[in-house]
């Protein structure tokens, strides 16, 4: 028990919230110099366990030991003092102050009763240098990409405390392959330094790439801790889901069927469509009932392409023709009228209205299209909402539940429902499965294929190549804001990856 290598030992921890048991009898041991994955579907209890480790929540029962002496973590501040630093999935930094200030916030070096700015910037630069990053730390954080912001958050977590334990809650969900590699390099060097890292992620590849051990939770219960080398992927997924997964295999089969049905009746035709600084002019067609996959790294121009197709940005070159009619006015309103819908990449900021109910969120798109004077009555709203809750399998006790209380997968389904109600002809899905558990992912992929069968056209943007290949009829690859290749659906992951990276 008293292994000196143990950093954190959690035993028999339970936590109940009114009406729900979030954790029950959870065991967890983090050793020095190991990277330990915490896995489970959404709602498995990962976040609750992390909240307990970071002092946000107090466990009802159970024991937590740090270096083999019992502790109680009273608050996030206390956790930091104990050497437990955390980087959350939602980056909680201030985008309007400088990178250096973000890193050193609350720990500013002082001189003559004021802040020693020079030293502050220098310390911040050093903290980033440890992660192999060089940037102008005096610039406001907001001008950098989400990925850089994530790195800054890690730098902050490491800089402000002599961290023994680093908790990374889905740090890679907004990083592209290069940045992930960079993050992994950092994680390995931290591991060398004896820091224990708790790594929460949905990406199986990453787990197998970097993790030493994995602890799996399911429905708040402890499933087990395993050496990753001794656990196959299928076993891992089966343990997470508590069932054998063959849904994903079944999907690949479906795809072969639907691929044959696509005889190209063009719905969307973009010629030379581009916007200076965002997207080099490109040609693009989407057929009726076709899935066009867009593959590309973060920052390759894939989201910019979606913005142009949905009218968020106005192109400065080329033309966009929908069903033979050119688009003259670029705004979401105008494009929605033409039958285009977008599930945006940043679900929280651009998709859901968290404080509104599921019913209101679902109705928003249709009501927006109807305008101010054609009112969908309360009863009709509930009818529509209930229909789509059932159709998409949104897990909620009532359509009047606030959307912010739903899990990521269910939120994504609410946005999908918002658009399906309007019966769009082109549905643009920008990273629809990001941060969603395996089960919900499969459901959304399946739904996409069903919609296509009904004649809807879909532009499917995802950073998970496997997913793009499985679903798409054709795949367009973007790199550095330009279209570099177009493949049919038989392309291999490897070829795609090479094209995206510019090796082919």
């Amino acid at each position: 028990m008293a292994d000196p290598q143990n950093l954190i030992t959690v035993s028999g921890v339970s936590k109940a919230f009114p009406g729900v048991i979030a954790l029950e009898g959870v065991e967890f041991t983090l050793r020095k110099g190991e990277i330990h994955a915490l896995m489970g579907e959404n709602g498995a209890g990962k976040s609750t366990l992390i909240k307990i480790l970071t002092g946000v929540e107090q466990p009802d029962t159970g024991r937590i030991e740090l270096e083999n002496s019992a502790i109680s973590i009273r608050s996030p501040q206390h956790a930091q003092d104990l050497g437990i630093s955390t980087v959350y999935q939602e980056i909680n930094l201030c985008t309007n102050i400088s990178v250096a200030e973000n890193i050193m916030l609350g720990h500013e070096p002082r001189r003559f009763g004021g802040i020693h700015w020079k030293k502050l910037n220098e310390l911040a630069r050093q903290a980033l240098a440890r992660l192999g990053i060089e940037l102008d730390v005096t610039q406001p954080l907001g001008i950098y990409s989400i990925a850089i912001q994530q790195m800054v958050a890690i730098a902050r977590a490491l800089a402000i405390a002599s961290a023994k334990v680093l908790i990374l809650d889905e740090p890679t969900s907004s990083l592209d392959a290069n940045e992930t590699a960079r993050l992994f390099a950092v994680m390995r060097s931290l591991k060398q330094a004896g820091i224990g890292i708790v790594f929460v992620t949905h990406f199986l590849d990453q787990v197998y790439e970097i993790v030493d051990r994995v602890t799996i939770l399911r429905n708040g219960r402890f499933v087990g801790s395993f050496e990753i080398a001794a656990l196959s992927r299928v076993e891992l997924v089966a343990k997470m889901l508590g069932r054998v997964v063959d849904e994903l295999q079944a999907l690949a089969h479906d795809k072969d069927n639907s691929a044959q049905q696509t005889d190209n009746n063009q719905l969307i035709k973009a010629s030379g469509l581009g916007l200076r600084g965002a997207l080099e002019p490109l040609d693009l067609t989407v057929g009726v009932g076709e899935v066009l996959g867009i593959a590309g790294l973060l920052g390759s121009g894939r989201t910019e392409l979606a913005s142009l197709l949905f009218g968020i940005a106005t192109p400065d070159s080329g033309s966009l023709v929908i069903d033979g009619q050119p688009v003259t006015r670029f705004s979401p309103q105008a494009l929605i009228k033409r039958g285009v819908a977008l599930c945006p990449e940043d679900r929280k900021a651009e998709g859901i209205v968290g404080e509104l109910s599921i019913r209101e969120n679902i109705i928003l798109g249709l009501q927006g299209r109807y305008g101010w004077f054609k009112f969908i009555g309360r009863q009709k709203q509930t009818e529509i909402a209930e229909k789509y809750i059932k159709l998409l399998g949104i897990r909620t006790p009532s359509p009047d539940q606030l959307v912010k209380n739903l899990s990521g997968g269910n939120q994504q389904k609410v946005i999908l429902a918002r658009w399906l109600v309007t019966q769009p002809r082109l549905l643009i899905l920008d990273e629809p499965t990001r941060g969603i558990d395996v089960g919900a992912k499969a459901e959304i992929q399946k739904l996409v294929l069903e919609l296509v069968k009904d004649g809807m056209s879909i532009v499917f943007i995802s950073s998970e190549l496997e997913e793009v290949v499985r679903i798409s009829d054709r795949i367009v690859v973007l790199r550095d804001h330009a279209k570099v290749a177009e493949y049919d659906h038989a392309v291999s992951d490897r070829t795609l990856m090479q094209t995206m990276a510019g090796e082919a």
Binding site: F17, P332, I352, L364, G365, G368, R418
Partner: protein, 364 residues
């Protein structure tokens, strides 16, 4: 709006805290100034402190209705007091038989007569305020100026405009039909309260029986997601500010009618702050989103009940501001306590959220 009623629903309701605040003030009065509740009949209409609350509070209630919609979109309208002054000056100038700086005798000035038909006066007055609101709306929605700054412009300039209209004078009104709005009675109750009721019902139908209420809340909560849903936030904002201008104009009309004069410097002074306070008391977050018109009206009633209670207690008018500061402090404390409760339950919900894959989720 909801058929189901349970205690937690009542407690979460926007009406709960404002009604509690009102009950506390009335309870205090019941103990220490019982004469506050006396209602008598004079010249065929009711009178007493409670009636005064309705009559004197009417302008604030109107302004609060308009302010509610503006705040719900995530903005604020600081110009309401100045707009009241503009519309009051407008009304007074149109009545005044001797406009401008013409030399006139006292006899002409104090005549019970008007230069302009009453209907035109009312329309012009309301149009002036509505135009001011439209101006604010254009600055916020089209010029993309921050609401605080955009309406601050008119807050400062508006009093100048009012002075310009009234030629820098305090105009006393002698035209009796004009007094009806602020002093008249229908079926024993002040006319002003009927006006408030009419506007409140109109606004309620306008936002709740059309999608506009949902759009306002969505814009206030997440403008980007709302835009991506194909809803024009610009026009929603424009509508809210314009309506706020209209409400302020009506409030200015009633107020000048009540005090028989138009004073560019003092009509509607500090109304913007009282209106914001009324809206906040009504449970609408200053950051925008969910709102309740009724709760805001009640907020205005609470403020005036408090004010008149202080008078009834014999607190001198110049000490009233200090008393009001105490009220503000109490409300803010209540409000922040509510935020605390909210945060606590939010934490629980967040945990529930991590559990919501379970089929048997009880309603939190």
């Amino acid at each position: 709006m909801n058929n189901r009623i349970s205690f937690s629903r009542i407690r979460e309701s926007r009406l709960f805290w404002v009604l509690t605040a009102w009950a506390v003030i009335l309870g205090f009065n019941a103990l220490f100034v019982p004469e506050f509740f006396r209602i008598g009949i004079q010249d065929g209409h009711l009178y007493g402190n409670l009636i005064d609350v309705l009559n004197n509070g009417a302008p604030l209630m109107l302004v609060a209705i308009g302010m509610t919609l503006v705040i719900a979109t995530g903005g604020v309208d600081l110009s309401v007091g100045a707009v009241m002054a503009i519309s009051a000056a407008m009304g007074a100038v149109l009545i005044n038989p001797a406009p401008g700086d013409k030399l006139v005798s006292n006899e002409i000035l104090t005549r019970n007569a008007t230069n302009t038909p009453l209907a035109i006066i009312v329309i012009a007055t309301l149009a002036a305020g509505t135009l001011c609101g439209l101006w604010n709306g254009l600055l916020v929605s089209r010029a993309k100026i921050q609401p605080l700054v955009a309406t601050l412009i008119l807050m400062v300039a508006g009093r100048g405009i009012a002075q310009l209209i009234s030629n820098g004078q305090i105009i006393t009104i002698y035209y009796t039909p004009y007094f009806w709005f602020g002093n008249g009675y229908i079926l024993g109750l002040p006319v002003s309260i009927y006006i408030v009721a009419a506007v409140a019902i109109l606004a309620w139908v306008g936002v709740r029986k059309t999608p506009i209420g949902l759009f306002i809340e969505a814009v206030g909560l997440n403008p980007k997601a709302t835009y991506y849903s194909g809803i024009s936030a610009k026009n929603i904002q424009l509508l809210a500010y314009t309506f706020s201008g209209f409400c302020s104009a009506l409030a200015g009309l009633i107020l000048s009618s009540y005090v028989h004069s138009a004073d560019g410097n003092n009509n509607g002074l500090n109304y913007e702050l009282d209106a914001i306070l009324a809206v906040v008391m009504g449970g609408t977050m200053l950051s925008g989103g969910r709102f309740s018109l009724l709760a805001s009206v009640l907020g205005a009633i609470v403020i005036w009940t408090f004010t008149l209670s202080m008078y009834a207690l014999g607190v001198p008018a110049n000490a009233l501001l200090a008393g009001r500061a105490v009220l503000v402090l109490l409300v803010i404390l209540l409000y922040s306590d509510r935020r605390l409760i909210k945060r606590r339950s939010k934490n629980n919900q967040a945990a529930v959220q991590s559990q919501d894959e379970k089929p048997s989720l009880p309603h939190p």
